[in-house]
Symmetry: C2
Subunit: 334 residues, 2 copies
DNA sequence: CACTATACCCAAAACGTTTTGGTTTGGCAA
DNA sequence: TTGCCAAACCAAAACGTTTTGGGTATAGTG
């Protein structure tokens, strides 16, 4: 059926050792036989089997890409897609394969994360989209398998992470709003089970305190990162606190929902209420007014995560926590 | 290092044959020894190696997911992410693994699609995001490897496809505009190298002709599926044809760009110009006015593609062309 | 001529499974 | 006793590679 190294060897009149060595660029095979072998291989359409290779080499050159709750992650694509692209490009460039892993049921029975990975002999894993209260969290953190989390600050012997410097991102954002003269600044945060929410909250608090402004608990609302959540949170904020002149959102999606709500209430953005988002998704440029936001480098996060994992795998580097700098992009909404 | 079936066998005092058979649910191993084996395996943390298994079984239980131009596909996430989720969920459910494949350079040298897949012994491939003029197209079509394209109508002995019924989608959409009294209806299509563009154009033409309306060539513009493309195309259309009262777009992104343009020109949607998009991306609900659109079932497309591929693999079914029904969702923009 | 160095090549073992074609054991009927 | 059967187990081959530890010429050197 499939053509093997043995077929090539027979056809070329050499041993399989020689074929193998010819293919792997060893020096102890003459130019002549090498040419012959390559030519025979070509004519037979021979492709070396990675699985046989993996078996004997005891390494698969492949890592898992774990995306939590793939199917029930509305709006997740705005963030995750670019990260995946970054991870993919970097790993593919280094010759590593990517296998998709999910936390959801496979074959109807729940298979443990670590079982899945060791059965496939994955050499490492990149984890994304996971909540802090996800039951798999523990497993990932404790596994003796090199892994790096994206927006998931777990650090251990085998486990590093990459995320945007959310404390500073939020801090810079709020600081900008303050610099524009705002004093009553609301904050619509994401849900508390996202690591980023914790940091962004701290950034907000820090910026307010640094400016000598009081941090009022009921200026802060936890929502869901999505447009509708931003809308309802905004309504609540504005009804209870008419003095508010600016709102900072922990995601662009919520900010877009917020702008919509504000405009529906007959107020102007940024005239009456300034709006600042977080993420810099493509659509921020296309809403009216154009959304100001704290930008995350999503593709670069993927690349950084891949690099960290490769560092562990290839050069036994220690995992760490890598923070990528955010940047402020001011458009029209603030 | 890693614990193998041999370790389990030794520790349990049986042969590796018996361990294997115990694990695979054969009947000729007594309850007692089976219990013993399972217990030993548990205590040793034994996990059978899929790679050894693949080698002897001559099947990997894994398929490729090929995403064309992963990194240079702005806006692609709106469509591709959900499809990927569908493909993933279905295949994971059936116990198949997914390996990411891209058309881009791996290890700096261009590796052929078919080489990539056979080296890894992938059993099939699902291809998405590919243009008709992609150099890989030919290769996919001619490969003796079961594959199904998404929005890529190539049909051969080994190659099927899944797409939305774009002819009817466009036809229904335009028909709706006509039913609302519009007679001068522009069409902003995607680029001609996308299979869907061909079909949507035909749908537009059909609907116009069925209503006895003339199809004017310069009412039709080919653009790029993206917001900015929609914006410029709209400006062009409206400047040259002030009589136009409705525009149909081949993507929601372009429709959103179009609405922005129309509003910038001081006209009202849908009062002056009615707008109808295509895709039903999440943001259509959150622009003002809310976007009317032809909805595609993205997740279901992924599931259908996975199902077709599995049908070929598991039950030797013939590949075919599966068309999923679109549906009209009318909101405020038309 | 004997010895050594070099260039080229190869047999066999190993990787961790599955499966084939057995063997062994004990029980039971004739 | 013998023969037969079923239940429980196993040795060995196979899957397609890589690598180790050689071997055999040929050419060069003293």
């Amino acid at each position: 059926m499939t053509v093997t190294i043995r077929d090539v060897a027979r056809q070329a009149g050499v041993s399989i050792t020689t074929v193998s060595r010819a293919f792997n660029g060893y020096q102890d095979v003459s130019e002549e036989t090498k040419k012959k072998i390559l030519q025979v291989a070509e004519s037979l359409n021979y492709r070396p089997s990675r699985v046989a290779r993996s078996l004997v080499l005891q390494q698969t050159q492949s890592v898992g890409l774990m995306i939590s709750d793939f199917n029930v992650n509305p709006g997740g694509h705005h963030f995750l897609f670019d990260v995946i692209a970054g991870v993919h490009d970097r790993l593919a460039y280094l010759g590593y394969d990517i296998t998709l892993v999910s936390t959801t049921t496979a074959r109807q029975r729940l298979i443990s994360y670590i079982d899945f990975c060791t059965e496939r002999r994955l050499e490492g894993v990149i984890v994304m989209g996971m909540r802090l209260d996800d039951p798999y969290m523990q497993e990932v953190a404790e596994a003796k398998l090199p892994s790096v989390g994206i927006d998931l600050p777990i650090l251990s012997r085998y486990c590093g992470y990459v995320m945007t410097d959310n404390v500073n991102g939020a801090r810079q954002g709020v600081r900008y709003l303050i610099s524009q003269g705002h004093r009553s600044i609301g904050f619509v945060n994401g849900h508390a089970q996202a690591a980023v929410s914790v940091d962004r909250l701290r950034g907000y608090q820090t910026a307010m305190q640094e400016a000598g402004l009081e941090v009022k608990e009921d200026w802060i609302i936890h929502s869901n990162f999505l447009v509708d959540g931003g809308e309802t949170a905004t309504r609540q904020l504005l009804q209870n606190h008419p003095e508010m002149t600016a709102i900072f959102y922990a995601s662009d999606l919520m900010a877009i929902g917020g702008m919509r709500c504000i405009q529906r209430m007959g107020k102007k953005v940024p005239g009456d209420i300034a709006v600042l988002g977080y993420d810099n998704i493509d659509l921020g440029e296309w809403v009216t007014p154009m959304l100001s936001t704290v930008a995350q480098k999503r593709y670069e996060m993927g690349v950084a995560a891949a690099d960290m994992l490769m560092g562990m795998l290839l050069r036994q580097e220690e995992p760490g926590g890598r923070l990528l700098p955010p940047s402020l992009v001011i458009r029209e909404s603030s």
